[in-house]
Protein backbone atom coordinates (compact mmCIF):
# COMPACT_ATOMS: atom_id res chain seq x y z
CA UNK A 1 0.00 0.00 0.00
CA UNK A 2 1.00 3.60 -0.46
CA UNK A 3 1.77 3.17 -4.17
CA UNK A 4 -1.64 3.96 -5.65
CA UNK A 5 -2.40 0.37 -6.59
CA UNK A 6 -5.65 -0.48 -8.40
CA UNK A 7 -8.58 0.69 -6.24
CA UNK A 8 -6.27 1.68 -3.42
CA UNK A 9 -7.98 4.25 -1.20
CA UNK A 10 -6.80 5.66 2.09
CA UNK A 11 -9.84 4.31 3.90
CA UNK A 12 -8.20 4.83 7.27
CA UNK A 13 -7.67 8.50 6.46
CA UNK A 14 -11.09 8.93 4.88
CA UNK A 15 -12.97 7.42 7.81
CA UNK A 16 -10.94 8.85 10.65
CA UNK A 17 -13.17 11.84 11.40
CA UNK A 18 -16.38 9.81 11.18
CA UNK A 19 -15.51 6.73 13.22
CA UNK A 20 -14.94 6.18 16.90
CA UNK A 21 -11.79 4.30 15.96
CA UNK A 22 -10.39 2.50 12.97
CA UNK A 23 -7.91 -0.29 12.43
CA UNK A 24 -5.67 -1.33 9.57
CA UNK A 25 -4.88 -5.02 9.76
CA UNK A 26 -1.32 -5.48 8.58
CA UNK A 27 -0.77 -9.01 9.80
CA UNK A 28 -3.19 -11.91 9.58
CA UNK A 29 -2.24 -12.90 13.13
CA UNK A 30 -3.78 -9.65 14.38
CA UNK A 31 -7.09 -10.14 12.62
CA UNK A 32 -8.97 -12.01 15.34
CA UNK A 33 -7.90 -9.66 18.13
CA UNK A 34 -8.73 -6.66 15.99
CA UNK A 35 -12.26 -7.85 15.33
CA UNK A 36 -12.81 -8.54 19.03
CA UNK A 37 -11.46 -5.14 19.99
CA UNK A 38 -13.51 -3.41 17.33
CA UNK A 39 -16.76 -4.81 18.64
CA UNK A 40 -15.92 -3.94 22.22
CA UNK A 41 -14.93 -0.42 21.32
CA UNK A 42 -18.00 0.13 19.16
CA UNK A 43 -20.33 -0.95 21.94
CA UNK A 44 -18.53 0.43 24.99
CA UNK A 45 -19.00 3.82 26.64
CA UNK A 46 -20.74 6.08 24.17
CA UNK A 47 -21.26 3.70 21.25
CA UNK A 48 -20.01 4.56 17.80
CA UNK A 49 -18.85 3.04 14.53
CA UNK A 50 -15.48 1.32 14.32
CA UNK A 51 -13.97 0.48 10.94
CA UNK A 52 -11.55 -2.31 10.12
CA UNK A 53 -9.57 -2.03 6.91
CA UNK A 54 -8.56 -5.51 5.81
CA UNK A 55 -6.24 -5.35 2.81
CA UNK A 56 -6.67 -7.82 -0.01
CA UNK A 57 -3.54 -9.84 0.75
CA UNK A 58 -4.71 -10.40 4.32
CA UNK A 59 -8.11 -11.55 3.08
CA UNK A 60 -6.44 -14.15 0.90
CA UNK A 61 -4.34 -15.47 3.75
CA UNK A 62 -5.22 -18.28 6.12
CA UNK A 63 -4.93 -18.47 9.86
CA UNK A 64 -6.33 -20.37 12.82
CA UNK A 65 -8.98 -18.54 14.78
CA UNK A 66 -8.22 -17.93 18.42
CA UNK A 67 -10.12 -16.06 21.14
CA UNK A 68 -9.05 -12.64 22.41
CA UNK A 69 -5.47 -12.62 23.65
CA UNK A 70 -4.07 -10.87 26.72
CA UNK A 71 -4.37 -7.28 27.89
CA UNK A 72 -3.25 -4.75 25.32
CA UNK A 73 -3.41 -1.03 24.87
CA UNK A 74 -7.14 -1.00 24.25
CA UNK A 75 -7.81 -2.85 27.48
CA UNK A 76 -5.85 -0.10 29.07
CA UNK A 77 -8.05 2.44 27.30
CA UNK A 78 -11.23 0.93 28.61
CA UNK A 79 -9.93 0.45 32.15
CA UNK A 80 -8.98 4.10 32.51
CA UNK A 81 -12.03 5.57 30.80
CA UNK A 82 -14.81 4.02 32.92
CA UNK A 83 -16.69 6.91 34.47
CA UNK A 84 -17.10 6.71 38.21
CA UNK A 85 -20.26 8.07 39.76
CA UNK A 86 -19.35 10.97 42.04
CA UNK A 87 -21.39 10.80 45.24
CA UNK A 88 -20.85 14.48 45.98
CA UNK A 89 -22.27 15.39 42.56
CA UNK A 90 -25.28 13.18 43.24
CA UNK A 91 -25.85 14.92 46.59
CA UNK A 92 -25.51 18.34 45.01
CA UNK A 93 -27.93 17.42 42.23
CA UNK A 94 -30.43 15.94 44.68
CA UNK A 95 -30.34 19.11 46.71
CA UNK A 96 -31.06 21.28 43.66
CA UNK A 97 -33.88 18.95 42.57
CA UNK A 98 -35.45 18.96 46.04
CA UNK A 99 -35.55 22.76 46.04
CA UNK A 100 -36.71 23.19 42.45
CA UNK A 101 -39.96 25.06 41.80
CA UNK A 102 -40.38 24.44 38.08
CA UNK A 103 -38.14 21.54 37.18
CA UNK A 104 -38.01 19.63 33.93
CA UNK A 105 -36.41 16.36 32.92
CA UNK A 106 -34.98 16.30 29.44
CA UNK A 107 -34.14 12.80 28.37
CA UNK A 108 -31.94 11.90 25.40
CA UNK A 109 -30.56 8.97 23.48
CA UNK A 110 -28.28 7.99 26.37
CA UNK A 111 -31.29 6.78 28.36
CA UNK A 112 -32.20 4.41 25.54
CA UNK A 113 -28.61 3.29 25.01
CA UNK A 114 -28.29 2.35 28.67
CA UNK A 115 -31.83 0.92 28.73
CA UNK A 116 -32.69 3.07 31.72
CA UNK A 117 -36.44 3.19 31.00
CA UNK A 118 -37.50 1.97 34.43
CA UNK A 119 -34.95 4.17 36.19
CA UNK A 120 -36.15 7.24 34.29
CA UNK A 121 -39.73 6.47 35.12
CA UNK A 122 -39.03 5.82 38.79
CA UNK A 123 -37.09 9.07 39.04
CA UNK A 124 -39.77 11.11 37.28
CA UNK A 125 -42.56 9.60 39.35
CA UNK A 126 -40.81 10.01 42.68
CA UNK A 127 -39.90 13.64 41.99
CA UNK A 128 -43.12 14.35 40.06
CA UNK A 129 -41.13 16.15 37.37
CA UNK A 130 -42.46 16.32 33.79
CA UNK A 131 -40.40 14.65 31.06
CA UNK A 132 -39.30 15.98 27.70
CA UNK A 133 -37.70 13.55 25.25
CA UNK A 134 -35.34 14.72 22.51
CA UNK A 135 -35.72 13.34 19.00
CA UNK A 136 -33.38 10.44 19.74
CA UNK A 137 -34.77 10.10 23.25
CA UNK A 138 -38.28 9.40 21.98
CA UNK A 139 -39.79 6.13 23.25
CA UNK A 140 -37.69 6.05 26.42
CA UNK A 141 -40.77 7.32 28.25
CA UNK A 142 -44.36 6.45 27.24
CA UNK A 143 -46.12 9.47 25.78
CA UNK A 144 -49.31 8.27 27.43
CA UNK A 145 -47.78 8.87 30.86
CA UNK A 146 -49.26 11.93 32.61
CA UNK A 147 -45.75 13.35 33.09
CA UNK A 148 -44.84 13.11 29.41
CA UNK A 149 -44.61 16.49 27.64
CA UNK A 150 -43.12 15.75 24.22
CA UNK A 151 -40.21 16.83 22.07
CA UNK A 152 -38.24 20.08 22.45
CA UNK A 153 -36.68 22.39 19.92
CA UNK A 154 -37.17 23.47 16.34
CA UNK A 155 -40.33 21.44 15.77
CA UNK A 156 -41.33 20.78 19.34
CA UNK A 157 -44.87 21.64 20.40
CA UNK A 158 -45.07 25.14 21.81
CA UNK A 159 -45.80 24.18 25.41
CA UNK A 160 -42.59 22.13 25.61
CA UNK A 161 -40.47 25.05 24.49
CA UNK A 162 -42.41 27.41 26.74
CA UNK A 163 -41.71 25.10 29.67
CA UNK A 164 -38.00 25.16 28.84
CA UNK A 165 -38.21 28.94 28.76
CA UNK A 166 -39.63 29.01 32.29
CA UNK A 167 -37.92 26.10 34.03
CA UNK A 168 -35.65 26.78 36.99
CA UNK A 169 -33.95 23.38 37.01
CA UNK A 170 -33.24 21.52 33.80
CA UNK A 171 -32.32 17.93 34.48
CA UNK A 172 -30.67 16.78 31.24
CA UNK A 173 -29.74 13.13 30.94
CA UNK A 174 -27.97 11.42 28.05
CA UNK A 175 -28.09 14.26 25.54
CA UNK A 176 -25.82 16.82 23.97
CA UNK A 177 -27.86 20.02 23.52
CA UNK A 178 -28.00 19.79 19.74
CA UNK A 179 -28.69 23.09 18.00
CA UNK A 180 -32.02 21.75 16.73
CA UNK A 181 -32.96 21.43 20.40
CA UNK A 182 -31.54 24.65 21.79
CA UNK A 183 -32.12 27.18 19.03
CA UNK A 184 -30.29 30.32 20.09
CA UNK A 185 -28.29 29.03 23.04
CA UNK A 186 -28.43 32.15 25.19
CA UNK A 187 -32.24 32.01 25.06
CA UNK A 188 -32.43 28.31 25.85
CA UNK A 189 -33.52 27.62 29.44
CA UNK A 190 -32.35 31.10 30.44
CA UNK A 191 -33.67 30.82 34.00
CA UNK A 192 -32.43 27.33 34.70
CA UNK A 193 -29.69 25.74 36.67
CA UNK A 194 -28.61 22.71 34.67
CA UNK A 195 -27.83 19.24 35.90
CA UNK A 196 -26.17 17.41 33.03
CA UNK A 197 -25.60 13.66 33.05
CA UNK A 198 -23.62 12.13 30.22
CA UNK A 199 -21.25 9.22 29.81
CA UNK A 200 -19.10 11.31 27.46
CA UNK A 201 -17.15 13.90 29.44
CA UNK A 202 -16.54 15.97 26.32
CA UNK A 203 -20.25 16.75 26.12
CA UNK A 204 -20.24 18.44 29.51
CA UNK A 205 -20.16 22.26 29.23
CA UNK A 206 -19.84 21.98 25.43
CA UNK A 207 -22.96 24.01 24.65
CA UNK A 208 -24.51 24.91 27.99
CA UNK A 209 -22.41 25.20 31.11
CA UNK A 210 -23.79 22.80 33.69
CA UNK A 211 -24.24 23.73 37.36
CA UNK A 212 -23.80 20.08 38.29
CA UNK A 213 -22.05 17.89 35.73
CA UNK A 214 -22.34 14.16 36.29
CA UNK A 215 -20.19 11.98 34.09
CA UNK A 216 -21.86 8.60 34.30
CA UNK A 217 -23.95 5.97 32.66
CA UNK A 218 -27.56 7.16 32.65
CA UNK A 219 -28.89 4.04 34.32
CA UNK A 220 -26.50 4.20 37.27
CA UNK A 221 -26.94 7.94 37.74
CA UNK A 222 -30.74 7.83 37.59
CA UNK A 223 -30.87 4.96 40.05
CA UNK A 224 -28.56 6.74 42.49
CA UNK A 225 -30.50 9.97 42.18
CA UNK A 226 -33.86 8.31 42.70
CA UNK A 227 -32.56 7.07 46.04
CA UNK A 228 -31.05 10.45 46.92
CA UNK A 229 -34.02 12.74 46.18
CA UNK A 230 -37.10 13.46 48.28
CA UNK A 231 -40.54 12.77 46.81
CA UNK A 232 -41.74 15.92 45.03
CA UNK A 233 -45.03 17.55 44.15
CA UNK A 234 -45.14 19.77 41.09
CA UNK A 235 -48.81 19.60 40.22
CA UNK A 236 -49.18 23.37 39.97
CA UNK A 237 -46.28 23.67 37.55
CA UNK A 238 -47.53 20.75 35.47
CA UNK A 239 -51.02 22.18 35.20
CA UNK A 240 -49.53 25.50 34.12
CA UNK A 241 -47.74 23.71 31.27
CA UNK A 242 -50.92 21.79 30.43
CA UNK A 243 -52.85 25.04 30.24
CA UNK A 244 -50.39 26.32 27.62
CA UNK A 245 -50.86 23.09 25.75
CA UNK A 246 -54.64 23.50 25.72
CA UNK A 247 -54.40 27.15 24.63
CA UNK A 248 -52.13 26.22 21.73
CA UNK A 249 -54.39 23.38 20.70
CA UNK A 250 -57.38 25.72 20.71
CA UNK A 251 -55.57 28.18 18.48
CA UNK A 252 -54.57 25.63 15.85
CA UNK A 253 -57.98 23.93 15.89
CA UNK A 254 -59.34 27.02 14.18
CA UNK A 255 -57.23 26.33 11.09
CA UNK A 256 -59.33 24.75 8.37
CA UNK A 257 -57.90 21.52 7.05
CA UNK A 258 -58.40 19.44 3.98
CA UNK A 259 -59.90 16.19 5.22
CA UNK A 260 -59.73 14.39 1.94
CA UNK A 261 -56.07 13.34 1.76
CA UNK A 262 -54.45 10.75 3.96
CA UNK A 263 -52.60 12.75 6.61
CA UNK A 264 -49.67 11.78 8.81
CA UNK A 265 -51.81 11.47 11.91
CA UNK A 266 -54.26 9.07 10.29
CA UNK A 267 -51.46 6.95 8.83
CA UNK A 268 -49.56 6.79 12.12
CA UNK A 269 -52.66 6.09 14.16
CA UNK A 270 -53.62 3.26 11.82
CA UNK A 271 -50.16 1.71 12.14
CA UNK A 272 -50.34 1.95 15.91
CA UNK A 273 -53.83 0.48 16.06
CA UNK A 274 -53.02 -2.33 13.65
CA UNK A 275 -49.82 -3.34 15.50
CA UNK A 276 -51.14 -2.75 19.01
CA UNK A 277 -48.34 -0.25 19.57
CA UNK A 278 -45.76 -3.02 19.23
CA UNK A 279 -44.21 -1.86 15.96
CA UNK A 280 -40.77 -0.38 15.58
CA UNK A 281 -40.96 2.74 13.47
CA UNK A 282 -37.95 3.77 11.41
CA UNK A 283 -38.09 7.22 9.86
CA UNK A 284 -36.08 8.98 7.19
CA UNK A 285 -35.27 12.70 7.25
CA UNK A 286 -37.72 15.49 6.60
CA UNK A 287 -41.27 16.54 7.37
CA UNK A 288 -42.58 12.98 7.76
CA UNK A 289 -39.83 12.40 10.34
CA UNK A 290 -41.01 15.32 12.45
CA UNK A 291 -44.69 14.39 12.05
CA UNK A 292 -43.91 10.84 13.14
CA UNK A 293 -41.83 11.98 16.09
CA UNK A 294 -44.61 14.31 17.16
CA UNK A 295 -47.80 12.41 16.45
CA UNK A 296 -47.13 8.71 16.90
CA UNK A 297 -48.22 7.30 20.24
CA UNK A 298 -44.87 6.03 21.54
CA UNK A 299 -45.33 3.45 24.23
CA UNK A 300 -42.88 0.66 23.40
CA UNK A 301 -39.35 1.39 24.66
CA UNK A 302 -36.78 1.89 21.92
CA UNK A 303 -39.36 1.70 19.15
CA UNK A 304 -38.30 4.91 17.39
CA UNK A 305 -35.28 4.67 15.11
CA UNK A 306 -34.12 7.68 13.13
CA UNK A 307 -31.01 9.37 11.86
CA UNK A 308 -30.51 12.12 14.43
CA UNK A 309 -27.96 14.88 14.21
CA UNK A 310 -26.50 13.78 10.89
CA UNK A 311 -29.88 13.86 9.16
CA UNK A 312 -29.01 11.42 6.42
CA UNK A 313 -31.80 10.91 3.92
CA UNK A 314 -31.98 7.35 2.65
CA UNK A 315 -31.61 6.01 6.19
CA UNK A 316 -35.06 4.55 6.72
CA UNK A 317 -35.21 1.66 4.27
CA UNK A 318 -31.86 -0.04 5.00
CA UNK A 319 -32.14 0.74 8.72
CA UNK A 320 -35.60 -0.83 8.85
CA UNK A 321 -34.19 -3.88 7.13
CA UNK A 322 -31.49 -4.11 9.81
CA UNK A 323 -34.04 -3.74 12.59
CA UNK A 324 -36.20 -6.47 11.11
CA UNK A 325 -33.25 -8.82 10.74
CA UNK A 326 -32.33 -8.20 14.38
CA UNK A 327 -35.91 -8.57 15.61
CA UNK A 328 -37.71 -10.83 13.12
CA UNK A 329 -40.80 -11.24 15.29
CA UNK A 330 -41.58 -7.55 15.64
CA UNK A 331 -43.51 -5.58 13.01
CA UNK A 332 -41.20 -2.99 11.47
CA UNK A 333 -42.47 0.06 9.59
CA UNK A 334 -40.28 2.36 7.56
CA UNK A 335 -41.81 5.81 7.22
CA UNK A 336 -40.18 7.94 4.54
CA UNK A 337 -40.73 10.85 2.20
CA UNK A 338 -40.88 10.42 -1.54
CA UNK A 339 -37.41 12.02 -1.71
CA UNK A 340 -35.57 9.93 0.85
CA UNK A 341 -37.10 6.61 -0.12
CA UNK A 342 -35.47 6.93 -3.53
CA UNK A 343 -32.03 7.39 -2.05
CA UNK A 344 -31.60 3.73 -1.13
CA UNK A 345 -34.40 2.24 -3.20
CA UNK A 346 -32.11 -0.57 -4.39
CA UNK A 347 -32.52 -2.17 -0.97
CA UNK A 348 -35.94 -3.36 -2.13
CA UNK A 349 -33.98 -5.99 -4.03
CA UNK A 350 -32.16 -7.03 -0.86
CA UNK A 351 -35.43 -7.20 1.06
CA UNK A 352 -36.85 -9.43 -1.62
CA UNK A 353 -33.71 -11.54 -1.95
CA UNK A 354 -33.34 -12.08 1.80
CA UNK A 355 -37.06 -12.54 2.33
CA UNK A 356 -37.16 -9.75 4.90
CA UNK A 357 -40.55 -8.28 5.62
CA UNK A 358 -40.53 -4.52 6.13
CA UNK A 359 -43.68 -2.44 5.72
CA UNK A 360 -43.00 0.88 4.03
CA UNK A 361 -45.21 3.95 4.33
CA UNK A 362 -44.24 6.68 1.88
CA UNK A 363 -45.68 10.07 2.76
CA UNK A 364 -45.70 11.33 -0.78
CA UNK A 365 -46.11 15.09 -1.13
CA UNK A 366 -44.35 15.42 -4.48
CA UNK A 367 -41.71 17.63 -2.91
CA UNK A 368 -38.51 17.49 -0.95
CA UNK A 369 -40.97 18.66 1.63
CA UNK A 370 -38.80 19.94 4.44
CA UNK A 371 -36.65 21.97 2.08
CA UNK A 372 -39.77 23.28 0.34
CA UNK A 373 -41.05 24.40 3.74
CA UNK A 374 -37.85 26.38 4.35
CA UNK A 375 -38.17 27.89 0.88
CA UNK A 376 -41.74 28.88 1.70
CA UNK A 377 -40.84 30.45 5.04
CA UNK A 378 -37.45 31.96 4.34
CA UNK A 379 -37.10 32.29 0.57
CA UNK A 380 -40.44 33.74 -0.55
CA UNK A 381 -41.81 30.44 -1.87
CA UNK A 382 -39.05 30.15 -4.41
CA UNK A 383 -39.45 26.39 -4.85
CA UNK A 384 -36.14 25.78 -6.48
CA UNK A 385 -35.38 22.12 -7.23
CA UNK A 386 -37.76 20.84 -4.54
CA UNK A 387 -40.69 19.63 -6.67
CA UNK A 388 -39.82 16.02 -7.50
CA UNK A 389 -41.29 13.30 -9.60
CA UNK A 390 -40.99 9.71 -8.52
CA UNK A 391 -41.71 6.32 -9.94
CA UNK A 392 -45.09 4.63 -9.84
CA UNK A 393 -44.52 2.84 -6.53
CA UNK A 394 -47.12 0.18 -7.24
CA UNK A 395 -45.35 -0.80 -10.44
CA UNK A 396 -41.99 -0.42 -8.75
CA UNK A 397 -42.95 -2.81 -5.96
CA UNK A 398 -44.28 -5.20 -8.57
CA UNK A 399 -41.05 -4.96 -10.54
CA UNK A 400 -39.09 -6.02 -7.45
CA UNK A 401 -41.52 -8.86 -6.78
CA UNK A 402 -43.06 -7.06 -3.81
CA UNK A 403 -46.54 -5.74 -3.02
CA UNK A 404 -47.45 -2.11 -3.64
CA UNK A 405 -50.50 0.07 -3.00
CA UNK A 406 -51.42 3.69 -3.66
CA UNK A 407 -53.77 5.41 -1.23
CA UNK A 408 -55.27 8.78 -2.09
CA UNK A 409 -58.18 9.05 0.35
CA UNK A 410 -58.05 9.26 4.11
CA UNK A 411 -60.89 6.83 4.63
CA UNK A 412 -58.85 4.08 2.92
CA UNK A 413 -55.86 4.38 5.25
CA UNK A 414 -56.79 1.83 7.97
CA UNK A 415 -57.73 -0.88 5.45
CA UNK A 416 -54.43 -0.36 3.59
CA UNK A 417 -52.38 -0.67 6.78
CA UNK A 418 -54.34 -3.78 7.69
CA UNK A 419 -53.72 -5.30 4.28
CA UNK A 420 -50.01 -4.53 4.55
CA UNK A 421 -49.84 -6.32 7.89
CA UNK A 422 -51.54 -9.47 6.66
CA UNK A 423 -49.59 -9.59 3.39
CA UNK A 424 -46.41 -11.63 3.50
CA UNK A 425 -43.10 -9.96 2.68
CA UNK A 426 -42.25 -6.35 2.13
CA UNK A 427 -45.14 -4.04 1.26
CA UNK A 428 -44.90 -0.47 0.01
CA UNK A 429 -47.78 1.93 0.46
CA UNK A 430 -47.64 5.20 -1.44
CA UNK A 431 -49.75 7.61 0.60
CA UNK A 432 -50.53 10.66 -1.49
CA UNK A 433 -50.65 13.38 1.14
CA UNK A 434 -51.38 17.09 0.86
CA UNK A 435 -48.57 18.56 -1.18
CA UNK A 436 -47.82 21.74 0.75
CA UNK A 437 -48.57 21.02 4.37
CA UNK A 438 -45.98 22.16 6.86
CA UNK A 439 -44.50 21.04 10.14
CA UNK A 440 -45.79 23.39 12.84
CA UNK A 441 -44.71 25.01 14.98
CA UNK A 442 -41.27 25.91 13.75
CA UNK A 443 -38.46 27.86 15.29
CA UNK A 444 -36.50 29.77 12.66
CA UNK A 445 -32.84 28.78 12.68
CA UNK A 446 -30.89 31.08 15.02
CA UNK A 447 -33.97 32.16 17.00
CA UNK A 448 -34.76 31.39 20.59
CA UNK A 449 -37.00 28.34 20.91
CA UNK A 450 -39.80 30.28 22.52
CA UNK A 451 -40.34 32.39 19.39
CA UNK A 452 -42.18 29.98 17.17
CA UNK A 453 -43.80 30.23 13.78
CA UNK A 454 -47.31 28.84 14.21
CA UNK A 455 -49.88 27.75 11.73
CA UNK A 456 -52.32 30.60 11.23
CA UNK A 457 -55.75 30.84 9.72
CA UNK A 458 -54.67 33.63 7.35
CA UNK A 459 -51.61 31.86 6.03
CA UNK A 460 -53.60 28.76 5.28
CA UNK A 461 -56.13 30.63 3.17
CA UNK A 462 -53.20 32.06 1.18
CA UNK A 463 -52.46 28.58 -0.03
CA UNK A 464 -54.98 28.47 -2.85
Amino acid sequence: MGRDAFQETDIIGVTQPITKHNFLVRNIEDLADTVHEAFKLAQGGRPGPVLIDVPKDILQNKTLYRPLASVNSLEYFRATRQPELSSSAIEQAADIINKAQRPIIMSGHGVILSEAYNELRAFAEKTNIPVITTLLGISAFPVTHPLSLGMPGMHGPAHVNQAIGETDVLFAVGLRFDDRVTGKVSEFAPKARIIHIDIDASEIHKVKVATVPIIADAKAALAALTTAVKPGDHRAWISEIRSWETENAERTRRVKRDEQYPDPTSILEAIRAETGGEAIIVTDVGQHQMWTARHYTWTRPNSHITSGGLGTMGFALPAAMGVKMGMPDVPVWAVAGDGGIQMNIQELATLRQQGVSVKVAIMNNGYLGMVRQWQQFFHARNYSETPITGPDYVKLADAYGLTGMRITRREDVPAAIHKAMITEGTVIIDFVIESESNVYPMVAPGSGITSMIEESVEEDSNHD
Binding site: F23, S73, F77, D179, V185, S186, S202, H205, K208, V209
Partner: protein, 182 residues
Amino acid sequence: MTKHVAPPKRAGQENAPQDGGHTHILVLFVDDSHGALDRIIGLLRRRRSNMQTFAIGRSEMPNVVRITVVVNDSEVGVEQLVEQLRKIVDVRHIVNLSFEQAVARELALIKVNSTAAHQNEIIELGHLFGAHAADVDHETVTLEVTGSADKIDKLVTLLQAHGIREVARTGCVAMTRGTANT
Protein backbone atom coordinates in the same frame (compact mmCIF):
# COMPACT_ATOMS: atom_id res chain seq x y z
CA MET B 1 4.44 31.64 19.86
CA THR B 2 2.14 34.54 20.60
CA LYS B 3 0.17 34.78 23.79
CA HIS B 4 -2.12 37.46 22.54
CA VAL B 5 -4.24 35.73 19.96
CA ALA B 6 -7.93 35.88 20.87
CA PRO B 7 -9.39 32.42 21.46
CA PRO B 8 -11.74 31.27 18.74
CA LYS B 9 -15.36 31.78 19.79
CA ARG B 10 -17.03 28.41 19.99
CA ALA B 11 -20.59 28.14 18.85
CA GLY B 12 -23.07 28.18 21.65
CA GLN B 13 -20.88 28.86 24.62
CA GLU B 14 -22.39 32.24 25.33
CA ASN B 15 -23.17 31.25 28.87
CA ALA B 16 -19.63 30.07 29.54
CA PRO B 17 -17.29 32.42 31.38
CA GLN B 18 -15.51 34.33 28.62
CA ASP B 19 -12.18 34.33 30.35
CA GLY B 20 -10.17 35.20 27.28
CA GLY B 21 -7.24 33.32 25.90
CA HIS B 22 -4.83 31.41 28.07
CA THR B 23 -1.84 29.49 26.94
CA HIS B 24 -2.01 25.86 27.98
CA ILE B 25 0.54 23.14 27.56
CA LEU B 26 -1.04 19.79 26.82
CA VAL B 27 1.23 16.80 27.29
CA LEU B 28 -0.05 13.63 25.66
CA PHE B 29 1.28 10.12 26.12
CA VAL B 30 0.31 8.23 23.03
CA ASP B 31 0.63 4.66 21.80
CA ASP B 32 3.05 4.57 18.91
CA SER B 33 0.37 3.03 16.71
CA HIS B 34 -0.84 3.36 13.15
CA GLY B 35 -2.75 6.56 12.58
CA ALA B 36 -2.40 7.89 16.13
CA LEU B 37 -0.76 11.12 15.06
CA ASP B 38 -3.36 11.68 12.33
CA ARG B 39 -6.12 11.26 14.86
CA ILE B 40 -4.65 13.84 17.19
CA ILE B 41 -3.90 16.41 14.49
CA GLY B 42 -7.29 15.81 12.87
CA LEU B 43 -9.07 16.35 16.14
CA LEU B 44 -7.18 19.57 16.89
CA ARG B 45 -8.17 20.85 13.46
CA ARG B 46 -11.82 19.74 13.64
CA ARG B 47 -12.30 21.19 17.10
CA ARG B 48 -10.80 24.48 15.92
CA SER B 49 -8.10 24.58 18.56
CA ASN B 50 -5.86 27.57 18.48
CA MET B 51 -2.66 25.56 18.25
CA GLN B 52 0.67 27.35 18.65
CA THR B 53 3.24 24.57 18.64
CA PHE B 54 3.27 20.79 18.35
CA ALA B 55 6.27 18.67 19.31
CA ILE B 56 6.57 14.93 19.17
CA GLY B 57 9.28 12.52 20.32
CA ARG B 58 10.04 9.38 22.28
CA SER B 59 9.23 9.12 25.97
CA GLU B 60 10.79 7.04 28.75
CA MET B 61 8.31 4.24 28.00
CA PRO B 62 8.76 1.84 25.10
CA ASN B 63 6.19 2.30 22.31
CA VAL B 64 4.80 5.43 23.91
CA VAL B 65 5.46 8.78 22.29
CA ARG B 66 5.24 12.07 24.08
CA ILE B 67 3.47 14.93 22.34
CA THR B 68 3.51 18.48 23.62
CA VAL B 69 0.89 20.82 22.21
CA VAL B 70 0.68 24.47 23.13
CA VAL B 71 -2.80 25.92 22.63
CA ASN B 72 -4.24 29.30 23.30
CA ASP B 73 -7.82 28.98 24.39
CA SER B 74 -10.35 29.79 27.07
CA GLU B 75 -10.55 27.47 30.09
CA VAL B 76 -13.81 25.97 28.85
CA GLY B 77 -12.39 25.54 25.37
CA VAL B 78 -9.29 23.77 26.60
CA GLU B 79 -11.28 21.48 28.89
CA GLN B 80 -13.35 20.44 25.87
CA LEU B 81 -10.22 19.79 23.90
CA VAL B 82 -8.69 17.67 26.64
CA GLU B 83 -11.85 15.57 26.95
CA GLN B 84 -12.02 15.13 23.20
CA LEU B 85 -8.36 14.10 23.03
CA ARG B 86 -8.92 11.68 25.89
CA LYS B 87 -11.45 9.83 23.76
CA ILE B 88 -8.83 8.95 21.17
CA VAL B 89 -8.09 5.31 21.79
CA ASP B 90 -4.34 5.72 21.29
CA VAL B 91 -4.08 8.48 23.90
CA ARG B 92 -3.08 6.85 27.17
CA HIS B 93 -2.84 9.88 29.32
CA ILE B 94 -3.08 13.62 28.95
CA VAL B 95 -2.00 16.44 31.24
CA ASN B 96 -3.00 20.09 31.02
CA LEU B 97 -0.09 22.13 32.43
CA SER B 98 0.00 25.82 33.10
CA PHE B 99 3.25 27.62 32.36
CA GLU B 100 3.72 28.25 36.09
CA GLN B 101 3.65 24.53 36.83
CA ALA B 102 5.97 23.59 34.01
CA VAL B 103 9.55 23.60 32.91
CA ALA B 104 8.95 24.54 29.29
CA ARG B 105 11.66 24.81 26.68
CA GLU B 106 12.05 25.24 23.00
CA LEU B 107 15.15 24.92 20.84
CA ALA B 108 15.87 27.16 17.87
CA LEU B 109 18.50 27.35 15.15
CA ILE B 110 18.91 30.85 13.76
CA LYS B 111 21.03 31.48 10.66
CA VAL B 112 22.14 35.12 10.51
CA ASN B 113 24.04 37.09 7.85
CA SER B 114 27.47 37.89 9.07
CA THR B 115 30.64 39.33 7.61
CA ALA B 116 33.95 38.59 9.33
CA ALA B 117 33.66 41.99 11.04
CA HIS B 118 30.33 41.15 12.69
CA GLN B 119 30.98 37.54 13.60
CA ASN B 120 32.08 38.18 17.17
CA GLU B 121 29.35 40.68 17.82
CA ILE B 122 26.69 38.13 16.83
CA ILE B 123 28.24 35.34 18.85
CA GLU B 124 28.54 37.63 21.92
CA LEU B 125 24.90 38.66 21.59
CA GLY B 126 24.04 34.98 21.46
CA HIS B 127 26.00 34.36 24.66
CA LEU B 128 23.79 36.82 26.50
CA PHE B 129 20.94 34.42 25.69
CA GLY B 130 22.90 31.29 26.46
CA ALA B 131 23.14 30.55 22.75
CA HIS B 132 26.21 29.15 21.09
CA ALA B 133 27.39 29.12 17.50
CA ALA B 134 26.46 25.78 16.02
CA ASP B 135 27.99 26.66 12.67
CA VAL B 136 30.11 29.50 11.32
CA ASP B 137 30.75 30.22 7.65
CA HIS B 138 32.06 33.12 5.51
CA GLU B 139 28.70 34.78 5.22
CA THR B 140 26.65 33.35 8.07
CA VAL B 141 26.58 32.35 11.71
CA THR B 142 24.07 29.74 12.91
CA LEU B 143 23.14 30.16 16.56
CA GLU B 144 21.62 27.42 18.65
CA VAL B 145 19.47 28.64 21.52
CA THR B 146 17.27 26.94 24.08
CA GLY B 147 14.71 28.59 26.29
CA SER B 148 11.24 29.91 26.57
CA ALA B 149 9.44 31.02 23.45
CA ASP B 150 9.67 34.63 24.66
CA LYS B 151 13.40 34.43 25.03
CA ILE B 152 13.81 33.04 21.53
CA ASP B 153 11.48 35.73 20.15
CA LYS B 154 13.62 38.37 21.81
CA LEU B 155 16.87 37.02 20.38
CA VAL B 156 15.32 36.77 16.92
CA THR B 157 14.21 40.40 17.18
CA LEU B 158 17.67 41.57 18.17
CA LEU B 159 19.34 39.60 15.39
CA GLN B 160 17.09 41.11 12.75
CA ALA B 161 19.47 44.04 12.38
CA HIS B 162 21.98 41.63 10.83
CA GLY B 163 19.52 39.97 8.51
CA ILE B 164 18.07 36.60 9.37
CA ARG B 165 18.24 33.91 6.70
CA GLU B 166 16.44 31.09 8.43
CA VAL B 167 14.81 30.21 11.73
CA ALA B 168 14.04 26.61 12.73
CA ARG B 169 12.18 26.03 15.99
CA THR B 170 11.23 22.75 17.60
CA GLY B 171 8.10 23.88 19.39
CA CYS B 172 7.75 23.67 23.12
CA VAL B 173 8.45 20.56 25.19
CA ALA B 174 7.50 20.61 28.85
CA MET B 175 7.51 18.73 32.11
CA THR B 176 6.07 19.29 35.58
CA ARG B 177 8.37 21.16 37.98
CA GLY B 178 9.60 19.36 41.09
CA THR B 179 9.64 15.66 41.86
CA ALA B 180 6.16 14.81 40.61
CA ASN B 181 5.79 13.15 37.25
CA THR B 182 3.86 14.93 34.55
